[in-house]
């Protein structure tokens, strides 16, 4: 027994530690503070403070890494480099915004989450719990766990750790999805589907990892890349393993044909969760996919390129075409997310260095717009029977005339939609431009052309909503009248994201610079 306490460079992990630590503390808060209202406030402040602290920590890290490639923590299990810090920064921004959304209430003091997740929806107990002022304040620590997992996901460089991180951010999400305040039956259904498919895909990922391990004798991504070039005779197994690992990540990105959970879960989940998931999961998974592709599987680029092409095209086509026929706004945005997954994968064509700067920017713009758009959805409500604020008005028809009633909300929504569509002067355009540049650099201009056609078709359904909001008058006495509760927290989120989308669309230079700086990996050589 000659155990030596391992030397761990804790400093680079501070952001993650802060977030996970705050999550654990949040769990303690749950048990020690009994009054739900107080608990909620404490949780909100705790999470917010933790996330901001982590944000600061990331920035400090970034400053510390100026010029250096990064830090290897724990003999290659974790690598904190500028690339991962960039993603962490983005995730933290998404998280802050999402937490604000999680906490926001309608003017009727109604939250987005159920009062009690364990009882049947619509039951007497639920009503009692609501009357008792119960709140599932566990959503805050759960969200923090997810954020921590995602942040880890961006910097772990070991297949098994990747698996653990994957589960760490997935499990809280499965739970969060099930906790909608209204339409909880759908919410639970979504959770079940998300969970089963998620577990299924993790299993696939894991088996792939096992095969890759078998083929290369390595589980560290960087070593895998090296080993692929050395080891031979195991090509089939390696390729199959690689495919399965990538499928596991693509599932999280939401690319077709691994997308089927996306519409159902986006629609069923509580809208703030959808916002968080839509923005953050995609970003984290993309970050991991980048690392895996650029560090481990790059020698297989030629073989795997077909997969990327096929999946990208299928995602763009399916997402676009299906979004065209949706009548539920959340579902429509979900399919649009599938299409965007396709655009993300377009950048992987050729595995060019350009993609390393392009993808973070794209995900940032996409994530901000997603959070903003879903935040607006939380604001547009049906009128309840008692005249108060009802459930979210998710049928597209209910959005008619919003531009007249609340021009600011509708304007912001239009902005986000235009950003999704990639219209210039919104961030989405620069993102799209970057991604297409990366693909063209990789010689995949045909893929870009297909992407472009998909964008054109996609514009139709984005535009349709704009038409509804601005150019359609609500028929007199229509039942779908919309009341917009005044939720300061959501409003803050909406305005922040809207401003960000505009600024990133017009003056993206600084952020682009940042991401270009981050387009380097710390590749450990031994």
């Amino acid at each position: 027994m000659n155990f030596v306490t391992p030397e761990i460079a804790w400093a680079p992990l501070t952001p993650i530690l802060i977030v996970l630590g705050a999550a654990a503390a949040g769990v303690l808060v749950e048990s020690f503070i009994k009054t739900p209202a107080t608990r909620r406030v404490v949780q909100l402040w705790l999470s917010g403070a933790a996330l901001l602290a982590a944000l600061v920590a990331v920035v400090v890290q970034w400053g510390g890494l100026e010029g250096a490639a990064g830090t290897v923590v724990m003999s290659g299990k974790i690598t904190v480099d500028l690339q991962s810090l960039a993603w962490q920064l983005m995730l933290l921004i998404f998280a802050v915004l999402s937490v604000l959304l999680f906490a926001s209430k309608t003017s009727d003091n109604e939250e987005s989450f159920t009062a009690l997740g364990s009882v049947a929806p619509g039951s007497v107990e639920e009503k009692l719990a609501r009357r008792a002022g119960l709140q599932v304040t566990e959503v805050f620590p759960l969200a923090l766990f997810a954020v921590g997992g995602m942040m880890l996901f961006t910097c772990v460089t070991d297949l098994i750790f990747l698996f653990v991180a994957l589960e760490l951010f997935s499990l809280p999400l499965y739970i969060l999805v099930a906790l909608a305040r209204r339409r909880r039956l759908l919410s639970q259904e979504a959770a079940l589907k998300y969970f089963l498919l998620g577990a299924f895909s993790s299993a696939i990922f894991l088996f792939g990892a096992a095969l890759v391990y078998g083929a290369t004798t390595q589980i560290d991504v960087a070593f895998i890349g090296i080993a692929i070039e050395i080891v031979d005779g195991r090509d089939g197994m390696l390729l199959l393993g690689a495919v399965m690992v990538i499928v596991g990540l693509m599932f999280k990105i939401g690319a077709a044909p691994f997308h089927s959970w996306v519409p159902d879960v986006y629609q069923g989940a509580p809208t703030p969760v959808t916002a968080f998931m839509g923005a953050a999961t995609k970003a984290a998974a993309t970050a991991a996919l980048i690392r895996v592709m650029y560090l481990a599987f790059y020698p297989l680029e030629w073989e795997l390129s077909w997969m990327f092409w096929a999946v990208a095209i299928l995602s763009m086509a399916l997402g676009t075409v299906l979004a065209l026929v949706q009548t539920d706004i959340k579902r429509m945005l979900a399919y649009s997310a599938v299409a965007h997954a396709g655009f993300i994968l377009v950048a992987f064509a050729g595995l060019e260095a350009e993609a390393l700067a392009a993808l973070p920017f794209y995900l940032l713009t996409y994530g901000l717009a997603t959070i903003g758009a879903f935040a607006i959805i939380t604001q547009v409500r049906e009128r309840a029977e008692d005249g108060g604020v009802g459930a979210e008005a998710v049928r597209l028809g209910q959005w008619a005339g919003l531009g007249k009633r609340s021009p600011l909300l509708a304007g912001a929504m239009a902005l986000f939609l235009l950003s999704f569509a990639g219209i210039p002067l919104t961030a989405g355009f620069i993102g799209k431009f970057e991604v297409f540049s990366a693909a063209v650099a990789g010689g995949a201009w045909i893929l870009v052309l297909i992407a472009v056609i998909a964008s054109a078709v996609a514009a139709f359904f984005y535009v349709r909503l704009i038409v509804l909001m601005f150019f359609t008058d609500v028929p007199e006495g229509a039942e779908d009248s919309i009341a917009v509760g005044n939720e300061p927290l959501s409003r803050v989120v909406i305005y922040l994201t809207a401003i960000a989308i505009l600024v990133l669309g017009i003056l993206p230079s600084g952020v682009l610079e940042l991401f270009q700086e981050s387009a380097v990996f710390l590749v450990i050589g031994g």
Binding site: I160, V164, A203
Partner: protein, 96 residues
């Protein structure tokens, strides 16, 4: 390699269970079988390479799987409370 092939077979059986069984718990057991199959492969490889990494991975997988089971079963129970059934055919309102 035999064990790896065995693992592949188990993995396929597990996946088939997910595809074919309507009982949520059974489908979930299929997933568990898939994870176990992966474990078997890991351990087999570990044995072949004469190192412990595979074993340790398998160990982690077990822990993760346990956590996953907890959450999964909790979701299933919550759903059962609401619907009085655990059939997967039933909750299919989200579609299209």
């Amino acid at each position: 390699m035999n064990y790896v092939i065995l693992a592949a077979i188990l993995f396929s059986i597990g996946s088939a269970a997910v595809l074919l069984r309507r009982n949520a718990i059974v489908a979930f057991m299929g997933v568990e079988l898939m994870l176990n199959a992966a474990n078997l492969a890991l351990v087999a490889f570990s044995r072949m390479f004469g190192e412990l990494d595979g074993q340790i991975m398998a160990f982690f997988v077990m822990v993760v799987a346990a956590a996953e089971v907890v959450v999964g079963l909790a979701i299933i129970i919550a759903l059962f409370r609401a619907r009085q059934t655990i059939s997967l055919d039933e909750p299919a309102e989200l579609k299209g």
